[in-house]
Amino acid sequence: RGRAKNCFRVAIQRVEKGLQYAYRDRRTKKRDFRALWIQRINAATRAHGLAYSQFIKGIKLAGITLNRKMLSELAIHNADAFNQILNKAQEAL
């Protein structure tokens, strides 16, 4: 039992597969995290009545170049700063 961890021939195949997954997932990791940040920002802005799409439009118009990673971190840890960014976005719209 457990040949994939005990028998060399089977194990080496699993190792190769694991390395392939690692190669592929280093690329998908970047996409996955961006999607998560977008979901989190969406949640935070909708709590204030603004949708994510409108928020990003307002941010671009206001000239704020923060990326989504930072915006989501701000939304979680530093609500005051995030609210100020929301206000700036709403003014620019």
């Binding site: 998560l36 979901q39 989190r40 920002i41 969406n42 949640a43 935070a44 909708r46 709590a47 989501s72 939304a75 979680i76």
Partner: protein, 170 residues
């Protein structure tokens, strides 16, 4: 922020809320999408699909929930018992007569992601057909549903009724 040290901050952020929603005059599907967002925790900026950050939702007055059009007569809930010729069909109005909570429960169940967390989220959903529910001490916030009540004939002013464009519609 002197008393807001890390532990109590975390408790406030990660606490599960209890929401009360009145389903009277709410359209089934639209209410279900609203509730599913609360159950999954997608309204919180700490959301993560693997972490369980969902909230509790208590829905009252499910017997007054609304289907538009002729769905009460036409919508069929089907399931197959596995035996040959065992397709069971039940109309929405009959299902509602049997158990007024089922229509909404099926809608929400179908809208949740089909993964292992669905069972956990459904356990946090409490449906009651009338106003009585035993969770008065738990409710943290009462929410209004996404649908506004439809305008009744009494609410239209006579001028609006006069000028309603029904003459040259087609």
């Amino acid at each position: 922020m002197s008393s807001f040290h890390r532990a109590s901050q975390s408790l406030r952020t990660h606490a599960r809320m209890w929401y009360l929603i009145d389903a009277k005059d709410q359209k089934v599907g639209r209410l279900a999408t609203f509730v599913v967002k609360l159950l999954q925790g997608k309204t919180k900026p700490i959301y993560h699909p693997a972490a369980d950050v969902g909230d509790f939702v208590v829905i009252v007055n499910t017997q007054d929930v609304v289907f538009t059009g002729k769905k009460w007569n036409d919508k069929l809930y089907r399931h197959h018992t596995g035996y040959p010729g065992g397709l069971k069909e039940i109309k929405a109005k009959d299902l509602h007569a049997k158990d007024p909570r089922e229509v909404l429960r099926k809608a929400i169940y179908g809208m949740l992601a089909k993964n292992n967390l669905r069972y956990t989220f459904m356990r946090r959903l409490y449906l009651y057909k009338d106003k009585k529910h035993p969770y008065k001490n738990n409710i943290t916030q009462e929410l209004t549903g996404p649908c506004k009540p439809a305008k009744k004939l009494q609410d239209y002013t006579p001028a609006e009724i006069e000028n309603y464009p029904y003459k040259n519609l087609f």
